[in-house]
Symmetry: C2
Subunit: 142 residues, 2 copies
Amino acid sequence: MRVNADQRRSGCPISCSLDLLGDKWSLLIVRDMVFGRKRYFKEFLASPEGIATNILTDRLKRLEDCGIISKLLDPENKRQIVYTLTEKGIALIPVLVELLCWGATYDSASNFDLDKVRQIQQDTRSRQRFLRELEKRCTSPS
Amino acid sequence: MRVNADQRRSGCPISCSLDLLGDKWSLLIVRDMVFGRKRYFKEFLASPEGIATNILTDRLKRLEDCGIISKLLDPENKRQIVYTLTEKGIALIPVLVELLCWGATYDSASNFDLDKVRQIQQDTRSRQRFLRELEKRCTSPS
């Protein structure tokens, strides 16, 4: 899904973002990489939402094509592929955090600590700290 | 799309949010209501992304079913339906703003002012002011 400028529905940046990310799975893969520090195909496959193999293959390809993730051979096992977030992928953390806060607040099925959400929403320093911690996870060796 | 707890893919709040909003159109309708102050079916249909009538009908129904928008008869023209954001819908503004910042930063097709984006991202007061202005748009009479 290397979407060229002329394949965008409009020049609205929200629409451009949704051209790439507007589906049920792409941002869950990014979530797995940020919150779960997942890096391998099998790890994504094991997430509780139960993504199908063909959908996972497709979404990883799309995320790579649009520069959100990088794919390389695992230095520790050359037969294995490891996925990492690029700068463009790491920059999605604030999007994930806002989806987290909204889901945690308005969805009774959500299992996230609401006090933590309130803190992030009401105290800008807590929010900044949370964002920085998540960024650090993505840039430091696991 | 009244998604019950047992229809959620998992208890992860990000996944719960995407269960409702993970598609290419739902958040664009919310965008139209927030940024464009749109309230009528015909207005959504006229947006530059060119949503099809049947998709718009479906998404409005879903957004209403999950409590993000309300539908009522226009007090000024009883034959017309007017859509407004609920509190749950207005609470999506931070999600939209982060998608806006990300798209504006990383998509060359985006037409949004990058200086404004930098300001929102780097200065928490600017961000808060921007969020408040958008909220006010949704709660004050047009």
